[in-house]
Symmetry: C2
Subunit: 403 residues, 2 copies
């Protein structure tokens, strides 16, 4: 059993926005892969980049070699998607990996530093304008954290600018934010974000993003907004290796770059190749594809593991069935929404539930303690102590390769 | 009162090697400057790069502007020095800033990963050979941590290579390691490093460093050693701004780029310009310059602060006098040396003293707790959980500028 990954650590992406906003350090939400499987002597870890598959020879092609397999489980995930505007990536970073997070962190806190120094009021306004594109959970969480930074963390630390005057704009092309939740919860999230000082613009598309601003389009009206910081949380697409694998296996790829799989998580005609997680397009019971969330990936992983063991003893398993444990999103301190079946929660209760669930989802006990400690400290002081402006390779550099 | 710094955080450099070896996260040893002086309303923080001074106009020149002063306190510190071999920096990174630490961390753990993958025995040996140049405290601490990584942290995590077979070489041009300590403590440090599996080579100079190895020279004998990882802990020199300031003020600059100051920490003829810390050459009582260590800088800072206040009320102060609190260095778990006046300590007692002193030297309570927690976890498990291989701008990129 070989675990192939481009990175030497497992990353808990749902808390990545807390690294990007200076609350946590990268290692707090990461766990070294080798350490995780240390005691499983039959598991080998390979730090490598999978690029293609040779279905006939049953060989996974790596950037620098190849690896034979009997059964292949693909869980390469998703990356951000700029809908044909690759040039926007430079000006509007997305949040998928640790380098993205430290890059965004640097941009946010450097914007306040530059605003403190500039003598030009127009430039200062642009530096204190933050635009988040896309109102899924990541976009909402980023906007909420930005508002808290401006209103609670920084005000007493700057002498010339009033950080609380910063403008935080959450832009969503659809009619409401957090569309995977019930409409009344979306409304509560809007209210929560407004309470923190953020502004929500729904039914508003992004027409252009440049170094100096964004062009927003609502209906036929276009508006140019001067801003120094645009964060992208709008779209994801399957990892590039998915395209190669779909071509090799004849599997169909949907518009979001996800590989279609059957109810057993296999590619049609290739019972030896499983695709799980964000890279898989798995039709749910109502004919809608399963969402790209952690519980889907976790349950698919457990199912495939069971299925492979069942095959070894010539047993059959019923098709995979997703049990939705519910969804939650946080906006800020004491402000969250949660939806579990018909139950709908908001406010402090939902927020504590969110904290608990995310803490427990960290795979290492040490990280749970470190995160809890830092959350506690942040709760008492509003300080965000991990707000280092570091030199990162993020800007304009092709992502994805391990150095 | 304006605090000018290139970075937005204070960094506790003595623990930087623990970031470079995966025990701590960067933010654990850093503190945001603005947060530190939040309650001092008369202190302004400016994120800027000081490059020169106009003595006549009493103006500090910044990379992007200037700043008038009545009194100037220079504490720009030191950077690493490759003794005329600037090209070595690319192959043998030094450890002065956070980016250096994450770069080195990536190199160390990537070397083990590559060793696990290669089929070539010669290449594997080079990947498992680590050379640390310079046996001051940083060099010794890095070599000790590398030995612990190879012998204790990684062995059960790799399937093909025996990480414990890694060769850790500490190279020192002088006759003994940790020359600032008593000879018997140097000998204890050598014994401690040997116990961990490291090798010490004194009286050995580095003649060349390339991508594939180092050339060592002992007397007339030269030896080429194939290695993938060389770390530089050999020399420091004053920050470049020191040169400009010396030229502007007529102060003399010593070979290590330090500005000569009088017993009141001022530049001769410029009682309005103080130089403290690693950038200052301050003659001690025995005619030797004070060492570039934290206690000197701290005491000079306190002295200059007292002196400026005394001047305001037309009072005089006696000259600065350094009170040596002693020195300590750690080699590994339970292995440290300490020297306080005539007292000489080693082993577990010195190690606990080292832990305590370094924990208390962190300026933020939260960081003390986080560091203590991670040390405790590391003590119990030998794991180094912050060992992320990230893409860093370290390799071959000019350092020093804030993005």
């Amino acid at each position: 059993m070989t675990l192939v990954d481009r990175r030497n650590f497992h990353l808990f992406q749902p808390l990545l926005y807390q690294v990007a906003t200076g609350t946590l350090s990268p290692a707090n939400i990461a766990a070294p892969l080798r350490n995780l499987v240390k005691r499983q002597a039959n598991v080998r870890v390979l730090l490598a980049d999978a690029i293609d598959v040779d279905v006939g020879r049953r060989v996974l092609r790596l950037l620098d070699g190849e690896l034979a397999y009997d059964t292949l489980i693909l869980a390469a995930g998703a990356r951000s998607h700029y809908f044909g505007h690759a040039g926007w990536a430079m000006h509007a970073p997305s949040l998928k990996c640790i380098e993205d997070a430290t890059d965004i962190r640097g941009r946010i806190f450097a914007a306040f530093e530059k605003a403190e120094r500039t003598e030009d009021a127009t430039q200062r306004a642009a530096l204190l304008t933050f635009v988040v594109v896309g109102a899924g959970p990541t976009g909402v969480e980023l906007a909420g954290a930005l508002a808290e930074i401006a209103r609670h963390t920084l005000p007493r630390e700057f002498r010339r600018i009033d950080t609380a005057s910063a403008r935080i704009l959450l832009v969503e092309a659809g009619p409401r934010i957090l569309p995977n939740f019930a409409p009344e919860l979306s409304a509560k999230a809007v209210a929560a974000l407004s309470k923190l000082g953020g502004t929500v613009r729904t039914d508003t598309a992004v027409a252009d993003i440049t170094e100096t601003g964004v062009v927003l389009r609502a209906g036929v009206r276009e508006e140019k907004l001067a801003t120094n910081t645009v964060l992208w949380g709008a779209g994801v697409q399957g990892s590039p290796v998915g395209k190669a694998i779909a071509a090799a296996t004849g599997a169909s790829l949907d518009r979001a770059g996800r590989i279609a799989v059957g109810s057993d998580c296999c590619i049609a005609g290739h019972s030896e190749i499983f695709v799980i997680g964000d890279l898989a397009r798995h039709e749910g019971i109502q004919g809608l594809p399963l969402p790209g969330v952690a519980p889907v990936a976790e349950q698919q992983g457990a199912y495939v593991s069971d299925l492979i063991r069942a095959r070894l003893v010539n047993r059959r398993l019923p098709p995979f069935r997703y049990r939705d444990p519910g969804s939650m999103a946080t906006i800020g301190r004491g402000l969250a929404i949660a939806q579990v079946g018909r139950w709908k929660l908001s406010g402090k209760v939902a927020w504590f539930a969110w904290l608990f669930v995310h803490l427990m989802a960290l795979v290492r006990y040490e990280n749970r303690l470190l995160v809890l400690g830092q959350w506690g400290w942040h709760y008492l002081t509003w300080n965000r102590s991990a707000r280092l402006i570091t030199r990162d390779s993020g800007r304009g550099v092709e992502r994805g390769e391990v150095r």
